[in-house]
């Protein structure tokens, strides 16, 4: 019981009544656990190789602060217009909304933000003070661009050497423009260049530019990508009418018109295969994709496969080419064998095994082989440590040669995606920064991952995922015009509203609403203050938080 404030009966009022608020009773001393606000990591953020702070830019979209949202993405990725279109969005695969209804369409919002800033958006200028060190980047694909951009932001003088006539690497030459219009790519490359990054095109290291040129630099980042098609390793590969997927796409992306017959067979299950198949559709061809496993094992982005199906591409699963037959050095048929799935291999996927005696053949005049790409490292002047066909790098992207870093598809552990290349560029830039003596990389603070069961779904009414407007099959497949269209602000807002904002406080006031101890309030800035003099640690705020942005931590109680 509280101390009675009177000492003598004479001082007391005639009857028992209150004279002050219970505010003067520090009931916080009852507490053995305390609630705290904690920023946790959303699974999308963790899943995003580039590490984009997705909940943060979603909130900015909800606030209609599109410039700020763009800047938020640009911290991690200079190419949101690109990734918003072509990224395989692993973020969505991990979205905590998936088990509840449908994942949030992160890539759609990312693209929306880029589109929103396409014309008038002012690219953020460099705020870091200029540094004297110079860095060369070999290759202007996503890894090279990302690395150069991050270095420029850190104040380094950065030069990109690109062997092709235009920058962009696989973004330009590997991705068809119905997925990634060239003007979008050009705009984002110009943005990067606006930071002072020099992009020297038609400057092939080991070709018209000697390797020694790089010795002028304090550090080098090699990011030449993987543009060499792996062969099928079967008879008939040299026949006319057999293309590699990469070559076919390169020709199409440079305005060429490859000679393609009317019956096109694409071999492979990756994105290159699908891009080649859909491009062939746009050239008015009948296309069949052959894949040796089933649809479930296809490495291609499922959305792309769906699009291909929609556009009339036929798929044959569990088949493998045995031989390409031809007459007069021109392709006429492909010999195939049926496959079955065996035990899982080292990739975790079930190994395809031929079924003896199941051979059959199909008629084709064009065969596109898209079964994987490897880097062309012939330009390297001395022996780099390699692993397989790729340059070996350590966790800091350092090759065996001091000062020379590598990343993206030309180095080890790639997965052949744009966003992983962006990640490599970003992380390599941090390593280079450290190598040049400027900053020790942060060890990446231990993050708490928000899981689906942490979300208080009561607060989130079911809402269907946005349907992206796109060209219908007829007009859409007669040209290389972009299939997926921009979305309106309203639709973007609706989709942004679906985001749980896992682990990020949105100041929704649920904690404050349900506090029986009236111990949560807001300061002038709108930030929550927990009154620990009175919080009894019931935990309702933590449990009710819709998005797991709070924790209960044990009090360091000293028992007297």
């Amino acid at each position: 019981m509280g101390d009675y404030r009177y000492t003598t009966v004479e001082e007391m009022p005639p009857l028992a009544f209150s004279l002050e608020s219970t505010r003067n009773i520090p009931t916080g001393s009852w507490r053995h656990v305390r609630p705290v606000y904690v920023e946790k990591s959303s699974p999308c953020q963790i899943a995003c190789p580039a590490g984009e702070n997705i909940p943060a830019y979603f909130e900015l979209v909800r606030q209609k602060k599109y410039r700020e949202a763009w800047y938020k993405i640009l911290e991690d990725n200079p190419l949101p217009g690109v990734t918003g279109r072509v990224c395989y969005h692993p973020c969505e695969g991990k979205c905590n909304r998936s088990p509840y209804d449908e994942p949030v369409a992160v890539h759609v919002i990312e693209r929306f933000i880029a589109d929103k800033n396409f014309r008038e958006g002012k690219f953020p200028s460099v705020t870091a003070s200029p540094k004297s060190a110079k860095v060369a980047v070999v290759g202007s694909g996503p890894a090279g661009l990302s690395c150069a951009y991050q270095l420029a932001r850190k104040g380094y003088r950065t030069v990109i050497y690109e062997g092709e006539h235009d920058p962009g690497g696989m973004l330009r030459y590997g991705i068809p423009s119905y997925r990634l219009p060239k003007n979008v790519l050009a705009k984002e490359i110009n943005d990067i260049a606006s930071l002072g990054v020099q992009i020297r095109t038609d400057s092939r290291i080991g070709g018209n530019v000697p390797w020694s040129e790089l010795e002028k630099y304090d550090a080098v980042f090699v990011a030449v990508g993987a543009s060499q098609s792996s062969g099928l390793g079967i008879d008939g590969e040299k026949l006319t009418g057999v293309y590699s997927g990469v070559d076919l796409l390169h020709q199409l992306n440079t305005g060429g018109s490859p000679k393609i017959g009317s019956g096109v067979v694409v071999i492979g299950g990756g994105n290159t295969a699908i891009d080649a198949a859909r491009s062939a559709v746009r050239l008015g061809k009948e296309v069949t994709v052959l894949y040796r496993r089933t649809r479930d094992e296809m490495p291609a982005v499922p959305d792309e496969v769906n699009e291909a199906l929609r556009e009339g591409v036929r798929f044959e699963f569990l088949v493998s080419p045995v031989k390409i037959k031809g007459r007069q050095r021109k392709v006429t048929e492909v010999d195939l064998i049926r496959m079955k799935l065996g035990e899982p291999d080292e990739s975790g996927r079930r190994r395809p095994l031929p079924i003896e005696g199941s051979n059959f053949e199909i008629t084709a005049d064009t065969v596109v082989a898209a079964v994987g790409e490897t880097p062309d490292l012939s330009f390297l002047p001395y022996s780099f440590l390699k692993k397989g066909a790729r340059i070996f790098v350590d966790a800091d992207y350092l090759t065996g040669v001091p000062g020379i870093f590598a990343g993206g598809d030309s180095a080890t552990n790639p997965n052949g995606t744009v966003v992983n290349a962006i990640k490599a560029g970003k992380e390599a830039a941090a390593s280079i920064d450290e190598f040049l003596g400027w900053r020790t990389k942060s060890n990446g603070a231990e993050h708490q991952l928000v899981k689906p069961e942490d979300i208080n779904t009561f607060y989130f009414p079911h809402e269907t995922r946005i349907k992206v407007p796109r060209l219908s099959v007829g007009p859409g497949t007669r040209s290389f015009a972009e299939v997926n269209k921009s979305i309106t602000e309203e639709r973007a807002f609706q989709e942004a509203e679906r985001c749980f904002s896992c682990g990020s406080c949105l100041h929704c006031d649920v904690c404050m609403t349900f506090c029986p101890d009236v111990a949560i309030s807001k300061d002038d800035q709108g930030e929550y203050i927990i009154d620990y003099d009175h919080c009894k640690g019931c935990g309702i705020c933590v449990n009710e938080c819709p998005r797991e942005a709070m924790d209960l931590v044990e009090e360091d109680t000293q028992w007297a």
Binding site: A16, E20, R23, I25, R62, E453, F458, F514, P516, G539
Partner: protein, 322 residues
């Protein structure tokens, strides 16, 4: 529609430092009632948890005048207070009787019935924590069927169904009657504000979870309250003039099992007991539906869809970071 948010109106009148147990539903109820009614309010508290919660002399948490009265006298004392104010020319101050289920369903029922019959002009808020909690969890007539209390031990849990206080009050044909839950504060506040505008006896029956009495972790108070509503154990509705029933939230109709499993007081239930309770709840729900004169008030999809999913939000979760 994004996240469901509660835009609670009104000043924060309740003070911290009160003597409620952590996670107390009755205290949230008081907080919302005061927010809804404002400072021109006088509260009468009979013997109940709130006799303690408001604070010992010389403290008070309520921030408005409080009169502590005898256990059975909430309604009668409130009648007298209202009469005293009226005769002295104060026609504005809202008088609230704020009582637990014991003081309402049991010992205070006579005074309540008398006042309701006279249509005394006050709001009676019963925060129902379904047993005599202040005295240490003894059964009341509000204790649900087959629940454990210290006087209905698990060997012989309460064999009688919960008294239907709402029907009793409805039979008095009082102008306004509503059920409310701490898990739906916007709904509760709207009802109290509606009550405030009506003259005569107004009765708000609030589902008020009690962590120590029901044996669950305090952090689950809201979740459990929500489950009670969504499983139709405690539907949210209004009754006008004792006749016109109006549902204010269409419950999702989740199984009662999840609700029962969330609390230690039901730990002893066998599958057949759960089935029995489910069928009791279904029967009461059908009866209530038969009385509805209005369709559910539309408050947007959210209130129909954003239901608790016990699979994903298991109660009893107490992840404390060391």
């Amino acid at each position: 529609m994004g996240q469901i948010k509660f835009d609670l109106p009104g000043e924060e009148i309740l003070s911290p430092g009160h003597f409620a147990c952590p996670g107390c539903g009755a205290t949230l109820t008081m907080r919302y009632v005061l927010k809804a009614l404002g400072r021109k309010t006088i509260v009468v508290i009979p013997a109940c948890c709130w006799s303690v919660i408001d604070g010992p002399v010389p403290y008070s948490a309520a921030g408005v005048p409080v009169f502590h009265t005898a256990f059975e006298s909430a309604a009668s004392t409130a009648s007298g207070i209202k009469a005293g104010l009226e005769i002295q020319g104060d026609h504005e101050t809202t008088v609230v009787a704020f009582a637990g289920d014991g003081g309402t369903f049991d010992i205070g029922l006579q005074a309540l019935s008398g006042a309701a019959e006279r249509n005394e002009d006050f709001i009676y808020v019963c925060y129902d924590n379904e047993a005599y909690m202040n005295t240490g969890i003894q059964r009341s007539s509000a204790t649900p069927f087959w629940a454990w209390t210290t006087t209905t031990p698990t060997e012989s849990p309460k064999a009688e169904k919960k008294k239907n206080i709402v029907e009793i009050l409805a039979a008095h044909r009082i102008p306004y009657l509503a059920t409310a839950s701490v898990a739906y504060p916007d709904d509760m506040i709207a009802k109290i504000q509606r009550a405030k505008e009506i003259k005569g006896t107004r009765f708000i029956h609030v589902f008020s979870p009690c962590p120590p009495g029901w044996k669950f972790e305090p952090e689950d108070s809201i979740k459990i309250s929500r489950m009670a509503v969504e499983s139709r154990i405690f539907p949210l509705f209004e009754v006008f003039n004792g006749r016109d029933y109006k549902l204010t939230r269409e419950p999702a109709g989740t199984p009662v099992r999840d609700y029962l499993k969330s609390q230690g007081r039901f730990r002893h239930l066998k599958e057949s007991d759960i089935q029995q309770i489910q069928s009791n709840v279904d029967e009461e729900w059908e009866r209530l539906k038969g009385k509805l004169t209005f369709q559910v008030e539309s408050r947007g999809k959210s209130h129909l869809h954003g239901v608790v999913d016990p699979e994903r939000n298991p109660p009893m979760r107490r992840a404390i970071r060391k």
